[in-house]
């Protein structure tokens, strides 16, 4: 399917995004790995939606306005990006920090969000476990913790393969720096987010979690579910932090039931 790489200038910063497909708008918000481009996942979604895959400001591909320092700055700025993309109401989907970002935007502006689709999302501090410190574990340690079985992951090399070109290595450094800037402290959560989630009572919300996520424990999925009125939580067995990559079939079953309630996919 055809997709395009485009740019939009927001508040003086040039923001990269990929767009393709047709139908209701959906914005896919990437995780800490940065924007890996138009993936099979987006291709699949583009059969039913106009899919936007922006690169977060400060990650490799998009500029960061010099004032943008915190995760809240990022969330507020993203609502402006949606405005410039002329998306008054879109499905927000995101993984890990992308999910957190979607949740922040939703509580700031619920009317902007048609549906909320969060996958192993950061943002809420667990009460019993901890969100694993990916900085402390380093890239390699985090990679080991991310999957139940890396052999299940078709896109493994794309995500964690040896960064072969100087550009890919540079992008990796830029992305790590961006995550550090936004998520260092408080680490991967916003203390004021949980009480605000109640505001999403009119936003249909689904949470998908890998049961054996060793980065963001499933407890966080439960906390999100309890905090957002009417939210559903779908847990995938034998699956780690990346359900859409590690268990794509199960992921799609759950995703379609939520995103395409009115028709069965062939």
């Amino acid at each position: 399917m055809a997709y395009e790489r485009k740019f939009v200038t927001v508040g003086g910063a040039r923001i990269e995004y990929f767009v393709g497909g047709s139908g209701a708008p959906m914005v896919w918000l990437h995780g800490t790995e940065g924007n890996l481009g138009w993936l099979p996942l987006h291709e699949e979604l583009a059969r039913d939606f106009t899919v936007y895959v922006p690169t977060h400001p400060g990650f490799a591909g998009s500029e960061r306005p010099p004032w943008l320092e915190t995760f809240l700055d990022l969330s507020r700025f993203y609502l402006w990006i949606l405005q410039e993309l002329r998306l008054p109401k879109a499905i927000l989907a995101g993984h890990f920090i992308g999910g957190w970002l979607a949740a922040e935007m939703a509580v700031m502006s619920p009317s902007t969000v048609a549906r909320l689709f969060l996958i192993d999302a950061a943002g809420v501090r667990p009460r019993e476990g901890e969100i694993t410190d990916i900085f402390l574990h380093g890239s390699e340690g985090t990679r080991r913790l991310s999957f139940v079985d890396a052999k299940q992951v078709a896109d493994y090399d794309l995500l964690f393969g040896t960064k072969s070109t100087p550009e890919a290595r540079e992008a990796h450094i830029i992305n790590r720096e961006a995550v550090t800037r936004y998520c260092w402290k408080p680490y991967m959560h916003d203390p004021s987010l949980p009480p605000l989630l109640e505001r999403l009572r009119d936003v249909p919300t689904m949470l998908i979690w890998g049961r054996e996520d060793r980065i963001v424990p499933m407890e966080c999925g439960e906390l999100y579910r309890k905090a957002i009125p009417g939210a559903q939580l779908q847990v995938i067995d034998r699956c780690g932090h990346f359900p859409h990559l590690e268990k794509p079939a199960e992921f799609w079953r759950a995703a379609s039931a939520f995103l395409l309630p009115n028709h069965r996919r062939d």
């Binding site: 900085f135 402390l136 380093g138 340690g141 720096e177 550090t180 260092w184």
Partner: protein, 403 residues
């Protein structure tokens, strides 16, 4: 020439296996403090203070301290406390703090107050160095590494203003905000205690120092790289309209003396377990330099500088005898009898031309007894010879000639 003495005040009662079994096999940051025995710690702190006290008698112009966190390699986790004790215990030498890691302080005003007290108690003997800290310091204090340099510069500006501008005044910065800056006690030295900056040659810091006329102290950097970094400082200084001299530069060097070369070579080997720790297990790179700690441009320039480095490096060189021989041979660590050491130091001074010499006399597994003997030999034979050399080679320190 200004000659100061330094040790990292190490704690060495642990094994290589302890390090290897720690999280990511790191001797810093995650190496569990269950390996620390406070009874031994009490002895060591007092012993290190005794050594510094004796260093005054040896004739050092300065007693240099540093600070690190979450590590057995340096027990000076709150350097200003040791400095305050030395301020009262000693009479003549400068107390040289290299340095307080500015970015990790949430309240630089408090730091300005502590330093002012040290300056007064010592009756104006404080040299207040500032550093960015290694990445470990950012980790240990949960300070975002991407703001390290911004916080360093802003905290510096705030402290200098606190020391030099009549209070109360207001500070509304990016990282620090204070509405009533007015610490009642101000430093004895006017306009403020001298500022020196130690480092391993980060180009941005060198240029910043040159702009501020602050002496830059090379922390036992590679000889070839040191020369090219000095050129970088000189270029930035020229843009500010002055030519730096030896008074603008210092060199910290591991120098250990014993009665004979053989003994010194044997004992001096203890240096290898100094800031690398027992076992010399390499630290995870992202512990020392987490993402964003160095600017991408700065990292590239630093790599470019170090392309010309001459090996072997004492931090990375081998632990086997061949590795140690190479380190000794290349003078990256100076060990020997007084006569040998004086000869070797001269070779370095001719190349680096520093006005400040930091004598890192002992570290790692070099024990107290050997250290005291080393200091005695420095008193009798080495320091007088270095002073003569300083005169002969025209190496004024920053108290003889303004940097």
């Amino acid at each position: 020439m200004f000659i100061m003495r330094f040790t990292e005040r190490p704690y060495v009662a642990y094994t290589e296996d302890d390090v290897r079994n720690s999280f990511r096999s790191s001797v810093r940051l995650t190496f569990s403090n269950t390996h620390f025995d406070p009874k031994l710690g009490a002895d060591l702190y007092n012993q290190y203070l005794d050594e510094y006290e004796f260093s005054e008698e040896v004739g050092f112009d300065g007693l240099m301290l540093n600070e690190h966190h979450n590590t057995p390699t340096c027990m000076g986790a709150t350097m200003n406390l040791e400095a305050a004790i030395l301020a009262r215990m000693t009479k003549k030498p400068k107390i040289v703090l290299l340095g307080n890691p500015l970015p990790i302080f949430e309240n630089p005003i408090r730091l300005a107050e502590e330093l002012a007290e040290i300056d007064m108690i010592s009756r104006g003997r404080l040299v207040s160095g500032f550093v960015r800290g290694t990445g470990i310091e950012s980790w240990a204090t949960n300070t975002n590494p991407v703001h390290n340099r911004e916080r360093f510069e802003e905290a510096h500006d705030l402290i200098i203003k606190t020391w030099t501008t009549p209070g109360p005044f207001r500070w509304e910065g990016k990282h620090y905000q204070f509405r009533v800056v007015n610490p009642f006690e101000t430093p004895l030295q006017k306009p403020h205690p001298p500022i020196w900056i130690p480092g391993v040659g980060s180009p941005e810091t060198l240029e910043w120092c040159a702009r501020h006329h602050y002496p830059y102290i090379y922390l036992e950097t590679d000889p070839q790289v040191t020369v090219s970094m000095t050129d970088l400082y000189a270029k930035a200084a020229a843009e500010c309209g002055y030519e730096p001299g030896p008074q603008n530069f210092g060199y910290l060097w591991r120098i250990h003396v014993q009665d004979t070369d053989e003994k010194a070579i044997e004992v001096g080997k203890g240096f290898l377990t100094g800031n690398a720790g027992i076992g010399r297990v390499p630290l995870p790179g992202d512990f020392m330099a987490p993402a964003g700690y160095n600017s991408r441009e700065g990292s590239k320039r630093l790599l470019e500088q170090y392309k010309h480095a001459l090996r072997p490096d004492p931090l990375y060189g081998g632990v086997d005898s061949a590795g140690w021989d190479a380190v000794v041979e290349s003078n990256r660590i100076v060990v020997g009898s007084p006569k040998t050491v004086v000869k070797k130091i001269r070779q370095g001074l001719e190349v680096f031309r520093p006005g400040i010499l930091g004598v890192w006399s002992n570290d790692g597994t070099i024990g107290h007894k050997d250290t005291m003997r080393c200091l005695q030999l420095m008193k009798d034979e080495v320091l007088p010879a270095i002073r003569e050399m300083g005169k002969e080679l025209g190496l004024p320190g920053p108290f003889e000639q303004a940097p």
